[in-house]
Symmetry: C2
Subunit: 812 residues, 2 copies
C-alpha cells in the first residue's frame, strides 16, 4: 500500500494520507540552523547542536506518536482544524504534504477553505520561514481565526526533560508588536534568544502554555482555539510557548499569505540589553525585515531550489528505471547531505542529546557527499584526523561544537583508523587535491603534536600492523564496525554499556572484517604512496598486505565462507562449527571487496554462501542463524531478539559491501538485486509493512527471523545512505573517480540495454552514454571521448572546464 507518490520533476515526495504508518519526516536547513518536520508538521528546531541549543520542545515516543511541532490552528466559524491534520485530527476535505529538498509544504482544506503551509530555512539564515496561505474557495465571505503555536525548549534539551525543579521557574518571554521573544536564561549566561514573528498585526497572543492549552487539554484541543480567543498571557516559568492569534476576513476567491518566522539570535555581551530587563531586539528586527513579505519569501524559496539544482548536478543518471533515477539523482544524495549535517544526532529515532560525531561514521558518510561539497568534506577529514592518537588509534566520537574527541562511548575500536584512508583517498580522487596530505594536523587535538596529514594515514595503516593477534589477523579491540560484537567485554550487569565496559581486553580476539578492511584500504594506501613517488613506503606496506592476505586464506577461511572472528578464547566466530551465528555478512563483504582469494574462487564461494544463508526477500541479514540466547563472550549482538538490529536484522549499511563484492566478480544481476531490495523507492508499494519513509534508507529492516520481516526502523541517519550511493554510482553504474580521471566500469543486470550518466568532475562535465548491446553484466568494449577512441576504460581528466561527450559500448 502506498501513502503518496514521487514527484520527480519537483524533487518531492507527495504524501496524500496523513496517517502514514509512522511519521514521515524531512529536514530543513543546511548549515547551522536546522529543523525536523513530519508530514503532519510535528518536529523541532535547533541551532548547530540538537542538545545544547534546542529552540522548540519535542517529546519522543509519545502517545499519540509525533506530538509537538509547529502547529497552525484554524477556527472557521467554530470548526477547528489544522492544515496538517494533526494535532486536531479533524477529518480534512483534502490533504497533501510535499517533502522537498530542505523544504516541506503541507496543505489541507475544510469547507472550501484551503490552508497551505510552507516551511524552509533560507541558505545561511538562522531562522525558519513559515508561509501560511489561506484561500477562500467558497462563495461566501469567511471570517477565520488563525492561531500559530510552538512550545519553547529551554535550550539544553537534556536538562529540559529532566531538571524540572529548576526549569519550571526559569521561563521568560517578552512580547513586542507581533513578535514573541523567548529569553529564558538570557539574563545570565546565554547571549542568545529566540523569537517567533508574523508579518502583520495580531489580535492577541499567548506565551503561557497552560493559558493557551489548558492544563488538562491537549495539543489537539487547546482551550483558546476552542474559544476563539487568546489570553495575551505572559509566561513566568512553567512552560513558555508562542502563539499568535490573527483574525482574517477572506472574500470569495481571495487568497492571503501570512509570513511567520522562527529565529535564533546571538548578541554581543556588551549589547545584550535595550534597557534594564529589556532585550536588544535589533538583530531580530533585522532578520524579520529580510523576509517580511510573501514576495521576499518566494524569492528566497527560489534561491533554495536553485542551490539544490547545483548541489545535485554532479551525478545524474538517466535509465529506464525511474526508482533508480530518483534514488541516485535525488533522494540518496539528499539523504547523504542530511547525514553529513546530522551525523547520528537528530532524527525521529535519535533524540539529539546523546551522540557526537563518530570517527568511523563520519569518514564513511564522506563518500556519499564529497562530490557535492568537496570543500566541506576536506574540513571534515581534517577535523576527524585531528582527534586521532599518535599510534593511529582514535576516540570513537568527537563533539561537533568543540571538535575534540571524547571517550563517552568508548575507544579502542580497531577498525576506526582505516576509515580515514577511505575518506582521504575518496576526497583526493574526487578533487585531485593532494595538498590535503601536506596539511599539518594535530594528534589528539594537540597542536604541538601536529604532523602532515599523510602521516595520519600511515599511522592508521600501521595501527593494524602493530596490533595483530595469534593468527596474524587484526586484533578486534573493543569492537570493529559491528559495535555489538563485543569480544573483550564480558558483561553481566544490565546497567553497563557494552561500548565502555572493558573487563577482558586480551590479545586473542581477531577480526576478519578488519582484515578485509586492511587489505582493501591498504591497497589504496599503497597506490597513493606510488602516486606520490613513495615507492619504498609502498613496497613496505605491500608486504604487510600480502601477509594479511595469506593469513586470511590460511586461518580466516571456513570452507564455504570467511570466518567472522576469533573470540577471547581463540574460538571461531562465524563458522559452520558454531551452533548459532555460523556466518556473518561483514567479513564476506570486506574480504570480497578486497578480493582476497579471488583467484582461488573464495570470493565467489563466500558470496554464494551469502545468497544461500543470509539473503531474504527484504535484504541480506547480518548473521545466520540468529542468536536465541545471550552469549557473554559475544556481547550486545546476542541481546537483541532474533531478526532485529545486529542479531540477524537486515542492517542496511553492510548490504552494499556485498553488492560491491558481487561487482568485483562481475555479477551485476545479483548486485542490483541486492540494491533494489533495500533501496526505499522500490519499497513504496509495501509501505504498510516497511513503515518508514519510501524516500530514505533505514538503518535496519527486520530480518527473516523477526516477527515481522521487512519492517523498517531508524530511518534517515545511517551510513547506509553513503554506502549505497557509493555502491550504485561507482560500482553498479560504474563511473568512478580515479586519480587521473573517471573510470568507466559498469556492472549491471543483463537485462539493461543502456543508460546515461552526466558527471561533473573537477570542473569538467562528462555526458556518458553506456550501451549494453550484448546483455552483459560487465565489460567495456569501447570508449569514445569527444569522438575519439580511448584505450582502456579510463576517461582521462581534461581539466578544461568543458562538457565532454563519452560513448561507451559494453562488450567482451
Amino acid at each position: 500500500m502506498k501513502y503518496g507518490y514521487f514527484d520527480d520533476d519537483n524533487r518531492e515526495y507527495v504524501i496524500t494520507d496523513p496517517q502514514t504508518p509512522y511519521p514521515w519526516i524531512n529536514y530543513l536547513g543546511n548549515e547551522d540552523y536546522f529543523g525536523l518536520i513530519s508530514n503532519t508538521s510535528g518536529g523541532y528546531t535547533f541551532y548547530k547542536d540538537a542538545k545544547f541549543r534546542r529552540l522548540t520542545r519535542y517529546r519522543y515516543n509519545n502517545v499519540p506518536v509525533d506530538t509537538g511541532g509547529r502547529y497552525f490552528y484554524i477556527n472557521d466559524g467554530g470548526d477547528i482544524w489544522s492544515p496538517g491534520w494533526k494535532p486536531v485530527q479533524r477529518q480534512l476535505d483534502s490533504y497533501e504534504c510535499r517533502h522537498g529538498m530542505s523544504y516541506t509544504k503541507i496543505t489541507g482544506s475544510v469547507n472550501d477553505l484551503e490552508a497551505e503551509t510552507l516551511f524552509f530555512i533560507p541558505g545561511g539564515f538562522h531562522g525558519e520561514i513559515q508561509k501560511v496561505t489561506l484561500r477562500n474557495k467558497s462563495k461566501k465571505v469567511k471570517k477565520v481565526k488563525l492561531f500559530s503555536f510552538l512550545e519553547w525548549c529551554l535550550w539544553n534539551a537534556e536538562d529540559d526533560m529532566n531538571n524540572l525543579q529548576r526549569n519550571y521557574s526559569t521561563g521568560e518571554v517578552e512580547v513586542e508588536d507581533s513578535v514573541i521573544y523567548h529569553k529564558t536564561e538570557y539574563k545570565e549566561r546565554r547571549d542568545h534568544y529566540a523569537f517567533y514573528s508574523v508579518n502583520r498585526p495580531i489580535n492577541g497572543f499567548d506565551t503561557d502554555r497552560d493559558s493557551f492549552i489548558g492544563l488538562y487539554n491537549g495539543f489537539n484541543n487547546p482551550r483558546n482555539v476552542l474559544n476563539g480567543e487568546s489570553s495575551d498571557s505572559i509566561a513566568h516559568g512553567w512552560s513558555p510557548v508562542a502563539s499568535h492569534f490573527i483574525e482574517m476576513e477572506l472574500q470569495p476567491g481571495e487568497e492571503q499569505s501570512v509570513v511567520f518566522m522562527l529565529g535564533y539570535v546571538e548578541v554581543d555581551k556588551e549589547n545584550k540589553w535595550e534597557s534594564k530587563g529589556v532585550i536588544n531586539k535589533k538583530p531580530a528586527r533585522d532578520m524579520i525585515s529580510l523576509y517580511d513579505t510573501a514576495e521576499k519569501v518566494d524569492a528566497a524559496f527560489d534561491d533554495l531550489k536553485a542551490s539544490w539544482d547545483s548541489l545535485l548536478s554532479s551525478y545524474l543518471v538517466e535509465s529506464h528505471d525511474e526508482n533508480l533515477n530518483r534514488m541516485v539523482n535525488i533522494w540518496n544524495q539528499y539523504q547523504c547531505m542530511v547525514t553529513f549535517n546530522m551525523s547520528r544526532s537528530a532524527s525521529f529515532f535519535e533524540t539529539g542529546i546523546g551522540r557526537g560525531m563518530g570517527f568511523r561514521d563520519s569518514n564513511q558518510d564522506l563518500i556519499g557527499f564529497v562530490h557535492q561539497v568537496p570543500e566541506r568534506a576536506r574540513e571534515r577529514i581534517l577535523d576527524i584526523a585531528a582527534t586521532q592518537f599518535e599510534d593511529g588509534s582514535a576516540y570513537h566520537q568527537y563533539q561537533p561544537l568543540t571538535k575534540r574527541g571524547n571517550d563517552a562511548i568508548g575507544g579502542n575500536f580497531n577498525d576506526d583508523p582505516l576509515w580515514l584512508i577511505l575518506s582521504t583517498v575518496s576526497y583526493i580522487k574526487e578533487t585531485g587535491d593532494f595538498t590535503i596530505l601536506d596539511e599539518m594536523v594535530p594528534f589528539d587535538n594537540d597542536e604541538s603534536k601536529a604532523k602532515p596529514h599523510f602521516d595520519h594515514l600511515k599511522a592508521s595503516f600501521y595501527h593494524v600492523v602493530n596490533n595483530l593477534g595469534p593468527h596474524g589477523l587484526p586484533l578486534i579491540g573493543r569492537a570493529d564496525w559491528n559495535d555489538c560484537l563485543n569480544l573483550n567485554c564480558f558483561s553481566e550487569d544490565p546497567n553497563e554499556s557494552f561500548q565502555t565496559t572493558n573487563n577482558k581486553m586480551g590479545k586473542t580476539a581477531e577480526s576478519l572484517m578488519i582484515a578485509g578492511l586492511f587489505v582493501l584500504y591498504g591497497k589504496d594506501f599503497v597506490e597513493l604512496c606510488k602516486v606520490l613517488g613513495k615507492d619504498e613506503e609502498a613496497a613496505e606496506a605491500q608486504r604487510h598486505i600480502d601477509a594479511m592476505e595469506e593469513a586470511v586464506k590460511k586461518d580466516g577461511w571456513d570452507g564455504e565462507w570467511f570466518l567472522r572472528a576469533y573470540d577471547y578464547y581463540g574460538k571461531k566466530v562465524g563458522s559452520d562449527e558454531n551452533e548459532e551465528g555460523k556466518i556473518f555478512i561483514e567479513s564476506q563483504g570486506f574480504c570480497t571487496m578486497a578480493e582476497i582469494g579471488k583467484d582461488e574462487g573464495l570470493c565467489e564461494k563466500a558470496l554464494d554462501s551469502v545468497k544461500e544463508r543470509l539473503d531474504s526477500p527484504y535484504g541480506i541479514v547480518l548473521n545466520n542463524p540468529a542468536f536465541t540466547k545471550y552469549y557473554i563472550e559475544y556481547g550486545e549482538i546476542s541481546t537483541y531478539p532474533p531478526g532485529y538490529k545486529e542479531n540477524a536484522g537486515i542492517f542496511c549499511h553492510n548490504n552494499p559491501w556485498v553488492m560491491i563484492g558481487e561487482t568485483k566478480i562481475g555479477r551485476g544481476d545479483r548486485a542490483f538485486e541486492y540494491y533494489s531490495k533495500i533501496a526505499p523507492a522500490y519499497l513504496e508499494d509495501i509501505s504498510e509493512l516497511h513503515k518508514m519513509e519510501p524516500y530514505v534508507y533505514c538503518q535496519m529492516i527486520a530480518g527473516k527471523d523477526a516477527y515481522k520481516p521487512g519492517e523498517g526502523k531508524n530511518s534517515w541517519l545511517t551510513g547506509t545512505a553513503a554506502w549505497n550511493y557509493y555502491a550504485v554510482t561507482q560500482y553498479i553504474l560504474g563511473v568512478r573517480p580515479e586519480y587521473n580521471g573517471l573510470l568507466i566500469d559498469p556492472c549491471i543486470p543483463t537485462g539493461w540495454k543502456g543508460y546515461k550518466i552526466k558527471r561533473s568532475f573537477r570542473g569538467d562535465t562528462y555526458e556518458i552514454t553506456i550501451d549494453n548491446p550484448e546483455s552483459l553484466n560487465r565489460g567495456v568494449f569501447s570508449l569514445i571521448l569527444d569522438g575519439r577512441k580511448v584505450d582502456g576504460n579510463l576517461i582521462p581528466y581534461a581539466g578544461d572546464g568543458k562538457i565532454h561527450s563519452v560513448q561507451v559500448i559494453m562488450g567482451k
Copy 2:
C-alpha cells in the same frame, strides 16, 4: 478555592474534583517497591531505584499534564469512561479520590455504574495491588467491558527515554492465562521480570501499544476500547504494554471485585527458564496466589492501615487547631517518611533519573523520621558517615543501591559535614542508643580506614576549624546549604553546572550560615563529649566555638542583621551596603538558632529585620531585594527570575530555622505565624493559587517579587518536611528529646489555652497536658509527673515501658 477536604479519622485527603490545579499525588510502598499515583491514577512504579528499575513508563511535563499511569477503561454499552476521569476525561456523575497513608482509592460513576479502584503495596511485598470494584446501581442488568492498561518501561528510565534506536527493537513479553509478563532484556543480563495479572479469566489482552491504542490515538481514546475488543497482540519491540480485557455482567445491585497485581520478580540465574525461551513463572505465580481474592486483599489492606497506626503513634497532638493536628499527627509525618524513602529522587518534579541521596539532605531528613523508624535511621546515619572523607569533608551525594559516594553533582560543600552531628545527636536523644558512636565506620567506603563513628563527628567539627577564612569565619567551599550561592564559581558558559564548575576556588569566601551551623551543632558536639566524659575534648571544642561567636559578632554583623557571606573578593554579601540581596534568611536562621549575640540583642534585631524585609503573606523569602541581573560572583542564585527558587523565593526549607530562632527568644506568636503561613493544610482554601497538594509541603512558594506570589512548586520531596516537623513538635509545641528525658519547653501563641501531647519515647508513653492560663508565649511554671512535682522542665526518662501522665502549667 478547595478541591476536596481532609478526612482526619481515616487519615485521608479526599479530592472531589479531578481537575485539581496540578496533579495531586500520593506514594505507595514503604520499603523496596514503590509507586507514585495522582488523583487521576497517573504515575509510575519502580523497584528500589527509580532510574535503573522502572517498571512502568511515565512522561514528565507532557500535554495534557500527567499522561500515563495505571488506567482502567470502562465500555458500558459504548459509553467510554475511566474511574479517575483521566485519561478518557468523560464527565463523571460522581468522582472521589482518597489519598491515604500509602494507598489511594479512586471512585467514579457514570449511568449508575460505580467503579472503585484501590491501589496499595502490601508491606514487604514487591507488587502493587489494584482492586477494582464495579457496582451496578441501576435497575437493569449491565454488560460491561473492563480494560486495564499500563505501559512498560524498559527498566532503565533514562535509556528508555533516549536510546530509541535500541529500545524499539528489544521489547519482549509472554502471556499465560490471565498474566502478562514483561521480559525485556531478561534473555540477557537481567535476572528480573515484571508481570501484570488479574484474578479471573480474561476475554482477551493486548501487549503491543499500537495495536491497543492505535498509532494516532491517545490514552484518552484507545482504539480497542472504542471498539470494545482486544487484539490479543504480542509485542515484538516498539512499546510493550499490558492490557486485560474482561467482559462482566452485573445484576441490578450487584457488586463484583476484580484484583489486579503489578509485580516484580527476581530469579536466580540458574532457574531463569522453564524451557527454552520460556521464563520461569513460578515466583510470579506464588506472589499472585497471596492476593488472589478480594478477601485476601482486604486483609492486607487492614494490615497496611494497622502498620500506619503504629508508625504515627509516637507523637500525637490534640489542640483546638484542626490544621495543626492533621499536619503534626498525619501529613507531616507521612511526608517525612516519603522523603526518607525517596530522598529527592522521584516526585512529579523530580524525574527519578538524576539524583542520588544527598549527604546534607539525608542527614536533615532524618530529624523528621527518627522517632518513627529509629533502627532504619541508625542504618542511614552509618551509611552516610561511611562516604565521608578523613578530613571531615564529604561527597555531596551517594547512591542508594551501592551506598558509595560520588561527585556527579560536586563536592566540597563546606556545610555538609556538620549535618552529621545533627542527625547523630538527634538519633541518640531519641533512642538513648550511644552504641552508634562506637560503630566502626569507614571513610570513603574504605574499610581499611574505618574509625569509630564518634571520630566522624569529630572530623566534621574540625573540618570547619581547619577551613577558616580571613575573618576567622568558615570558608564556604563550593557552596553551603544554599547550593545556588556559588562564590567560587565564575561561570560564563550556559552548559556548565554551577555545582561542578570550580574555577575560582580561593581562600576568601566565608559563610555566616556555616558559622551559625558550627556554633549550634558545635554546642551539641560539646554536650555530647561531656555526656561521654570527654571533658578535654569538650573544652577544646568549646574554645573554637567561643572564637567563632566572637568572629561572627565582630565581622559577621551588619548592624541590623547578620551578613550572609564574604565573597571571593572579600566583599560583603547580604549587607545593607549591597544594592540587591541586602539580607538573607539562612544566616539569620542559623545564627539565631545558635543564639549568637543573643544577650546583646542581636538575635532579636536580626529576627525583626527578617519580619520587616523578608516576610510576606505566603512565607519568608530567601533574600531581599531579589537579584534582577546576573552576578557572576554569586552564581546560580542570580540566574532565577526574581521571586523564584533561591532568588527571593519562599524556600520553605529555611522558614523553620527562623521559627526556631523566634522560639529561642520566646516569641511564640511569631513562630507560629510563620508556621501557619507555609504549613499546607492552612493553604487549602487558596489551592487555586497554591496549586500544589494541601497536605504536603512544597520546596518553594513564589515570593513577593514573583509574578504570582503564593504559587507553590516542587511538592513532596523537600527538607521542609523534616524541618517543619522538627520546629513545630520540638520548639513550638515544645516536647523535645534530650539525653536524659523529654524536655518540655512550649513556645506558642498567647491565644492558646493549652493542648495535649501523647509521646512515645524509648518504649515509655507520656501523656502530656499543657495549660496556658496566663496567655503566655513561653515558660513552664510547674510540671507534675504521675502526680508528683518535678523541678525544672525535663521529664526524666522512666524506662519502665509504662504510660505516664504529665501535667504542665505554663507561667513565669
